[in-house]
């Protein structure tokens, strides 16, 4: 067994370099096929009849007219009479027809009688929630009462994050096709290896009969781990239609209504410190909803990152008539960060302290990675010129445009998930890496080619990467920032084992011991003797007639190649128009660590993407639910706003690398950098206008209202 480890810095030929994604050309040229693009011969189009009501009982369903329509090939009741529907958009009947308009006509021809029941959809009013608000156990650490008594300065504030949706640009969807007992499924998923077992039960078949494929995905963000009811329905409808392929991709409004949301979180916070800024006391009462399933914040995670020694926390979870929450990129962390970092920033203002000094002062409370946070804060401060640009609360320069600076820190786990990798070296020198993972847009394909190519002394172009098929070795779902650690570790192990076996075959020809060989620059050569070498192809020819396949695994003994626990600091520079309440981001900087970086370019891309998404949720994204009708009012892309390229400002990323970082092994990065933008922007707004805007997104109505309470200058324009 090889001694598994990552190569030393000077030996890395591809790892850590800036390498463009392998799937870039097919994506920008439109050749990449997403699930949405799957069009099979004879394919039928599926549609779902959805409940228009947030809460209702189904009394009767009449599908006869739909069934009689020409072109309609299958109609199936998903939830029958007697069922209590708990949210608008819930699935009631599925239809498959020869084209989309016919399927839509069939949906309209179905008559459903509902008994309408009272609903609750709003989430920001605890009183309105009544007994649908359930408090969780209070969590106490230390002695908060005593600590507040000993505090020289106490701040109390209210902070909130509105619920938002995932709004994947490729909506959720699936195409199913039966061939006898075998089911082929193309699905837009973060979980290629895990879909079949979730479909088998409802379809009364075995997982081994289900083939799952996906080449490319247009966004998941945590909302695409399951086949979903509509995905399973494609298989039911296909069966009813004699095995013909049936595709359902969600319409944009359904995508926003039912395919995932990030829970809201509101918090009343009290925080106390000594005169010198030492944080000693925290109290929070938070509430929010993840929809019908309740859910919401784990209150013992308050305060976020900064472990205040004395703390009392309680969360109240509201169950309302909205589809259940789904993991949204770093579940709970952005909401926890907002309430924590904003409360601490307000406290720093009350202490007349620069928040950077305040955080550095309390850096010890971040625990064992305190020095990393210090380094990251100082790096971010340098990148944004904090010491020069920061000013005490309230920009005092003349005019209606006020500028301000804010910061936030964050944490995440990111240890690699379970992953099996089959690596094959063919006698002609070609190399293939195969596993049932998926490239969520994060660059997984490219990472696999880098890890294998680096081990073999070959360029990325020499590595064929096969992913996106559940017939390949099992690899985990892409959630929790666990993919890069998992797939790079299994590939590295496979590569080292494969190389060991190749060296054993090639060694006699070089008159050397296998242990004396190395693979460098397209050659297999004797270490320290450049005269004794074979080209990679000559060496592989020594395998004889048969290819060599090796299975690499993560986790795997003896040494771990992945690790857990990252930090990051982000700082924002914003301008606020105090006459209109419109916020513009000038610049955001991010200093982030994630252990050993496989691809510097795509690591930075993860941070850029996260910061863009951060600007979007900080300023624009909000699921607007209407208590009057029980409906989501902005299930579209005109009033569910996403940031555009003109809205994101200048973004600067600095990845922490080198000693202290690289030797930790590979750690995930998809989530951490998306946590801080909301909090940093919130703090920057407060710094600009001298008053806190409590609830995110920071839209003109909320900013103007905050200015009014301050008696700000908008009152006189």
């Amino acid at each position: 067994m090889a001694e598994y480890k990552w190569p030393e810095a000077e030996k890395r030929t591809l790892i850590g370099k800036r390498i463009s994604r392998l799937d870039g050309p097919v994506k920008v040229s439109g050749k990449a096929k997403y699930t949405y693009d799957m069009n099979r011969p004879g394919m039928l189009y599926g549609k779902i009849l959805r409940s228009p009501y947030a809460h209702a009982k189904i009394v009767s369903i009449d599908t006869s007219a739909a069934e009689g329509m020409p072109g309609v090939k299958a109609v199936r009741i998903i939830q029958g009479p007697g069922t209590e529907i708990q949210w608008q958009g819930d699935e009631i009947v599925g239809v498959a027809a020869v084209d989309e308009p016919t399927a839509e006509d069939a949906i309209r021809a179905i008559k459903v009688e509902y008994q309408i029941l009272p609903h609750l959809v709003i989430d920001n009013d605890l009183q309105a929630a009544g007994d649908r608000a359930k408090p969780t156990q209070e969590e106490v650490r230390g002695d908060p009462e005593k600590a507040f008594k000993e505090s020289d300065v106490i701040h109390e504030g209210f902070y909130g994050s509105s619920a938002m949706t995932h709004c994947c640009l490729e909506p959720h969807g699936c195409m199913s096709e039966w061939n006898g007992n075998e089911l082929l499924v193309h699905v837009s998923t973060q979980n290629v290896s895990g879909i079949a077992s979730q479909m088998a039960g409802p379809l009364k078949t075995t997982a081994g009969n289900i083939r799952v494929k996906q080449d490319h995905i247009g966004g998941g963000f945590g909302s695409k781990f399951g086949p979903d009811r509509w995905g399973i329905e494609t298989a039911h409808l296909s069966k009813l239609a004699g095995g013909k392929p049936v595709k359902i991709m969600l319409e944009r409004n359904a995508e926003l209504m039912v395919a995932g949301s990030r829970p809201s979180a509101f918090a009343q916070v009290k925080v106390g410190a000594k005169k010198d800024g030492t944080l000693i006391a925290w109290e929070s009462k938070s509430w929010g909803t993840g929809g019908i399933t309740g859910g919401g914040l784990p209150s013992n995670n308050f305060p976020y990152v900064v472990v205040v020694p004395n703390a009392r926390r309680q969360n109240i979870t509201i169950s309302n008539n909205v589809g259940g929450q789904r993991a949204w990129r770093a579940p709970n962390h952005p909401q926890l960060a907002l309430a924590t970092m904003a409360a601490l920033d307000d406290l720093a203002a009350k202490l007349n302290m620069d928040p950077l000094d305040f955080f550095i002062k309390n850096i010890g409370l971040t625990g064992q990675r305190a020095e990393v946070y210090r380094e990251e804060l100082l790096k971010a401060a340098e990148l944004i010129d904090w010491k020069k640009k920061w000013h005490p609360r309230g920009d005092t320069t003349a005019g209606n445009i006020k500028r301000g600076m804010g910061l936030s820190i964050h944490t995440w786990g990111g240890r690699g998930h379970n992953s099996d990798c089959d690596l094959t070296i063919y006698p002609d020198g070609s190399v293939e890496v195969k596993m049932g993972t998926q490239d969520l847009g994060t660059g997984t394909r490219t990472a696999l080619a880098i890890v294998a190519g680096d081990a073999f002394g070959l360029p990325v172009s020499a590595i064929k990467v096969l992913i996106g098929d559940n017939r390949y070795p099992v690899s985990g779902g892409s959630g929790g920032s666990t993919t890069i650690g998992g797939v790079s570790s299994s590939t590295r192990r496979a590569a080292q084992d494969a190389l060991e076996q190749l060296f054993a075959k090639a060694a006699p020809a070089l008159k050397a011991q296998p242990g004396d060989l190395e693979a460098v620059g397209g050659k297999v050569r004797v270490k320290g003797d450049t005269t004794r070498s074979l080209t990679w192809q000559q060496a592989c020819a020594k395998l004889g007639g048969m290819p060599l396949t090796v299975r690499g695994k993560n986790p795997g003994p003896p040494q771990e190649l992945t690790n857990v626990g990252v930090g990051g600091a982000e700082m924002a520079d914003v301008s606020v128009d105090t006459e209109t309440g419109i916020v513009k981001v000038n610049k955001i900087v991010c200093a982030q660590d994630c252990g050993l970086i496989i691809n510097m370019k795509l690591a930075e891309s993860q941070c850029y993407g996260a910061m863009i998404m951060g600007v979007s949720y900080a300023l624009y994204e909000e699921r607007i639910l209407d208590q009057a009708t029980g409906r989501m009012l902005n299930a579209n892309m005109e009033f569910y706003r996403l940031a555009g390229s003109g809205d994101i400002g200048e973004l600067v990323v600095h990845m922490m690398t080198g000693k202290g970082y690289d030797e930790r092994g590979v750690i995930g990065l998809g989530e951490p950098p998306v946590i801080s933008p909301g909090a940093a922007i919130s703090n920057a707004i407060a710094n600009a206008i001298g008053v806190r805007v409590s609830v995110m997104p920071f839209t003109p109505d909320r900013v103007l209202k905050a200015l009014e309470t301050k008696g700000g200058n908008n009152a006189r324009v």
Binding site: P101, E104, A628, T629, L633, N636, E638, F639, R641, G644
Partner: protein, 327 residues
């Protein structure tokens, strides 16, 4: 979307002959950037679409003795790029900011003027006046953060979504319509109306009439501008918009036209703001007073009070921008 018959006449006589005399069964197709959405959402369910882009008489931008003549089928992007329209800064400002480049290349002037409100209750199928089963307006019970702050005493609470209409009304433009009964012409300002019942629409067009052109008098000797308050940098509906045309005598305002958009069920001309400007030199203070005057009668429906402030600012900034602009 439901199946429909597609027709593409080449004369305006043929076009109106294809339209029914009641709303619903037929619809005029310009760029389709609004109509297709309405059809996808099943708010409009026409059996026949009458494409008017092949009608030559509806094309073209040209100068006449009395001013500018803009065909109804002219694309928004043509307005943006037309050297003739540059003499109408108030129109050019408005056109340039509409939606996105893709939409500006499809959407037409006539379509922009006749597009339906974006009220989320209307678009969800609750009707133009969006009432519950007891006849109570949903906009008053529900979420009205984007609804009207002026002209909102009912029964309509939506805002008119045209960015071009306020600019053209500020110019004193006329709209020309053609129907089975022939041609008629009216000031664009009078084209818009607040519907009194669910059977009425927000403009004077009959079901079997089409808009053929807009006639814009010369703005020679004036200064003009449009300013919109919009949250996003691009491709976003304005929260408030103001178009201003000023006629100056020396450095004093001789006459002014101030029209707001996105604040009322129609483009909203503010004579109060105009009066506040007449006889004044344009300064930060007078612009500010005009803004205040413009929203004197504005009313908060509960969630949209902030729009009063935004409308005030839009007027103020449009006035200041106009004063700085060329003729």
């Amino acid at each position: 979307m439901r199946a429909f018959e597609y027709t593409s006449p080449t004369t305006k006589q043929q076009a109106v002959a294809l339209l029914e005399s009641t709303w619903g069964p037929t619809a005029v197709l310009g760029g389709g950037t609004d109509l297709l959405d309405l059809m996808k959402d099943d708010v409009e369910t026409p059996k026949r679409l009458v494409n008017i882009k092949d009608v030559k008489e509806l094309q073209g931008i040209h100068l006449t003795k009395s001013g500018l003549r803009v065909g109804a089928a002219v694309k928004i992007e043509e307005l943006v790029e037309s050297p003739l329209v540059r003499h109408y800064p108030v129109v050019a400002d408005a056109a340039r900011e509409i939606a996105s480049p893709q939409i500006r290349h499809m959407a037409t002037v006539g379509g922009n003027l006749c597009q339906r409100p974006r009220c989320w209750y209307y678009r969800a199928g609750f009707g133009l006046l969006a009432q519950d089963k007891d006849g109570k307006p949903l906009a008053l019970q529900g979420d009205n953060r984007y609804h009207a702050i002026l002209g909102n005493s009912g029964p309509a609470y939506f805002v008119h979504p045209s960015s071009l209409a306020p600019a053209l009304i500020a110019c004193g433009a006329k709209i020309r319509l053609f129907g089975t009964n022939g041609e008629r012409e009216m000031p664009l300002e009078e084209f818009y109306r607040i519907p009194a019942s669910g059977q009425e629409r927000e403009n004077a067009l009959s079901p079997n009439e089409i808009v053929t052109e807009v006639l814009v008098p010369s703005l020679a000797g004036t200064k003009s501008a449009t300013y919109e308050v919009r949250q996003k940098d691009a491709f976003d509906w304005p929260l408030a918009l103001a178009s201003v045309v000023l006629k100056l005598s020396g450095n004093k305002v001789q006459s002014a036209r101030v029209v707001m958009g996105y604040v009322a069920p129609t483009p909203w001309r503010s004579e109060e703001a105009e009066q506040a400007l007449v006889g004044k030199t344009i300064t930060e203070e007078t612009a500010h007073s005009a803004g205040n005057a413009a929203v004197e009668k504005a009313k908060d429906l509960g969630r949209n009070g902030y729009k009063i402030q935004l409308a005030r600012v839009a007027v103020k900034r449009a006035v200041l921008r106009a004063a700085k602009a060329g003729a």
